[in-house]
Symmetry: C2
Subunit: 148 residues, 2 copies
Amino acid sequence: MQNPNTQGKSMEELNLFLQEHGVKPSYQRTRIYEYLLNHMTHPTVDEIYQALADQIPTLSKTTVYNTLKAFMDAQLVRMVNIEEHEARFDVDLSTHGHFKCEKCGHIYDFELDMSEFKSDFLKTFLIKEKNIHFQGVCSKCLSASDQH
Amino acid sequence: MQNPNTQGKSMEELNLFLQEHGVKPSYQRTRIYEYLLNHMTHPTVDEIYQALADQIPTLSKTTVYNTLKAFMDAQLVRMVNIEEHEARFDVDLSTHGHFKCEKCGHIYDFELDMSEFKSDFLKTFLIKEKNIHFQGVCSKCLSASDQH
DNA sequence: TTTCAACGTGTAATCATTATAATATGAATA
DNA sequence: TATTCATATTATAATGATTACACGTTGAAA
């Protein structure tokens, strides 16, 4: 068992999945996609690279960039621009919002019902992506600072 | 008349406005705020700098950064992180969404009624900012590409 | 086996942003 | 008026994420 935390998906299954979505599989690509599946915490390029560099000593950060770009082109991954300086990535393609806590830095997902959203102004626009980014203090940090 | 496009606000009025909002006025700060008022097109740091460098030859880009930070701290300006690599700035503090056209790059404002938005998950969170960034193709570019 | 395109890698370049240090400013005070 | 002191402005250098580039590898098709 080489990769324990694969959420039940074998390398072969992942390869097939990538292939079906127009991404030619490779060891690096499969392992990066696997990482994204097992760490749905909106990781940065560096986090992905650092985590995999141990197991794939030859891995290059450029490969992580290239792979994420390929995933984005194939609509397998979405870029999350909630951080000021660093891009984050999300395999969850469902419509959901992101909340960034200013205290602990954690990024939470929250459900979002956009079905009732209507905009006269945008009705003649082609909307491809909807990014909803909230910011503030999460409940955990709020109750922590309540202590006196 | 030194600064023609001031939307009717004189330097003195702008100085007073800044002062009332906790920002100590200076020539540079007033001119930068004036620029933001007259160009509500979500300009980048560089756009602001380039536009004012002619009129204020000693202006430093660092000053533009520092000033925008001061404005943000004073809640006079909001950063718009809709661009992948460059921050944009908005003096319009009302709740509204931004739409970026992939073709022409223009960033549109659109009205947004968040009053009916409810989230069980976030009800214990302190929400300080709500950023709504849509992306796609604007009506102008759509009809332009319809031509055959 | 040859070929050829695509992929992966390491290095260098780019570019927005931030840090730093020196100078200028301007109000308060002596 | 001269002095002081905090703050603002500026130029330069440093940082750090991202991209460009060149080269070596791979892997499938012919």
